[in-house]
């Protein structure tokens, strides 16, 4: 078991980082969707109509 970890340590660490980032991104997308945040590239913070999409 320990041998397996020792041999695959780089794979485990890099894999965990990659999947951690992927999971964080997916969670953010789902959370944004639930908060009615669109994925538009207009820069919603500065959009004069942002209140229409981002109702609190």
């Amino acid at each position: 078991m320990l041998e397996f970890f020792a041999e695959n340590l780089p794979n485990i660490i890099i894999g965990a980082i990659v999947f951690g980032i992927f999971a964080a991104v997916v969670i953010k997308i789902i959370r944004d969707h639930k908060n009615h945040k669109t994925s538009c590239s207009c820069g919603c913070d500065g959009c004069p109509s942002s209140g229409i999409c981002h109702r609190d």
Binding site: V18, I29, S39, C40, S41, C42, G43, P48, S49, G51
Partner: protein
Amino acid sequence: MSIKIALAGNPNSGKTTLFNDLTGSSQHVGNWPGVTVEKKEGRLKGHNDVIIQDLPGIYSLSPYTLEEVVSRQYLVNEKPDAIIDIVDGTNIERNLYLTTQLLELGIPTVIAVNMIDVVRKSGDVINIRKLGEALGCEVVETSALKGTGSREAAERAIALAKKPVMANISVPSVFNGSVEHAIAHIEESIEGKVDARYLRWYAIKLFERDEKVIEELKLDIVLMEHLEEHIVACEKELDDDAESIITNQRYAYIAKLVQTAVKKKHTGQKLSLSDRIDRVVTNRILALPIFALVMFCVYYISISTVGAIVTDWTNDTLFGEMIVGNLNGWFESVNVAPWLSGLIVNGIIAGVGAVIGFVPQMLILFLMLSILEDVGYMARVAFIMDRIFRRFGLSGKSFIPMLISSGCGVPGVMACRTIENERDRRMTIMTTTFIPCGAKMPIIAMFAGALFGGSGLVATSAYFIGVASVIISGVILKKTRAFAGEAAPFVMELPAYHVPSAKNVFHSTWERGWSFIRRAGTIILASSVILWFLQGFGFVDGAFQMVEDNNNSILAAIGNVIAPIFTPVGFGNWKATVATFTGLIAKENVVGTFGVLYGLSEVAEDGAEIWSNLAADYTPLTAYSFMLFNLLCAPCFAAIGAIKREMNNAKWTWAAIGYLCGYAYVIAFIVYQLGKLFAGGGFGVGTVFAIAAVISLVYLLLRKNRYGEYGEYLPERKVTANA
């Protein structure tokens, strides 16, 4: 208890610039009227208890346009503690019309005479003391663009808001004679029925027979008849209708006021610099060629010259050599499994890197569009387009959402709500996403670079095909029952040209660029990981495993089922099909998908051109057809969501998506089939259908309009100007 201060004023008088200055916000500022379509809130810097409310620009407090309704509802119903009325000092007569109405609301008001630097430069003098005395309120000089005076205006508004409410009320004597007499009678009659502060305003609105106010107050019929007697007596005496009487007396009052408080250097017919420029750029003959030339330069510089150099460096050197090269070497040294290094290099970096690679080109494009917007040229474009649109029965009002759509389709679709005519609004919602948004730019830049030698013409053609598609669709749809009718009138004030503000320009550019980068790091990254998995795994000899050739992958199997639909338009391969569909998530995902599917990084390692694998799979004709289809078809899900919200009807939403996809398919089909014929590809069944499609399109464009103004069928209708 917080203090609410409303920023009110005419369109394009600088409210949002002042708002940003006071609150430190970064609201989009545009040098054309109608940028703010709904109110926006922020807290005054250094005063957490002071809320500043940016209202849409309005010319009056009538309830006719959406902006007026939003502003009026806020001022009357939400009852702010003070108003900062932003008056454009270069156009003071017209701006004071709203000022007189705001003062009648009885809310403590500070007048901010904005653009005072321009007023001084032109040699005019505004005596703010006299102005303040006559209007009975405080007046300060401001230059929102230069950040002067805005703080003083806010401090004075806070001081006024802290005083007892009735202590601040001083309404100027705008009306006289029988009008004032009638209004005074109305005030007496409704006293106690409305908030004492708003008494004067309600009385004037009742005199004008404002339907919304009559509906709101629900006065009994006897009282209404009594008030009507006073109004009718006035109308008889002055031989005019009540609304016009009020308007005329307001203007007479303002004229007198301006005479005493404003000294103009040039009172004659001398043309200003803006007028002289407009004589050329809005010239009946020269306007369109100048616009075409300007847009060509914008796209040429951003796609072919400066932008291309920076993008090539980002793609080839930064991603290709530095990131991928070093990462591959490091992965080998630490013995990372091939599938994991493949996921990172060929999946994430290829997908995200492909999109990020186009950021320099996008930033330069947005920088130039922001400059054009801030200088005031884009407002002229709306005016120029109105002249063209009107000829085809469309309104120039439809061009404002299209201007916004060149940044992003979502606010573009939303801006359609300022179009009062429902048929025109629906039609604009359906067509506004034809204009290539920022997210479509990488698709254009990718094909322009990979197959057209970075030609600026390809990019410019994408913009003008978008505009032409709006016109073609407008002409076709206007002849159908659902959209028939006269074009709504379009009145827009052209702002004076000014040197662009570096702050506004860089802020607008960065805002768009940053959100693009942010999206690459979220939705594009997630899509790239999923795509990498789907294109890297499949069934070989009945077993599910990693595949050497992505043509054997799950993604290829799915794509190959749908791909034949696109064979007649020239790109019936699974990779293009998949990219078209992933483009619905976000349009830049088309490029990210190609990055994953064509192994962007592997090519870069060899030192070859980054998109040469892609170029090998396409001819210029199929590439152009693919580009056209993806530019004109249904927009991304975010924009489709905006269409759904604005249409507020599932049938119309599906009709819009269906129309966009159908139109894109027909145009791409015609271009591909006829292009193939002219390129010596021979005459085939496809050519026959393409010619039939052209004939049908010409028929739809030229056929007589058989519907009247309200969509009624007129079989014997004589052809009029609208036909």
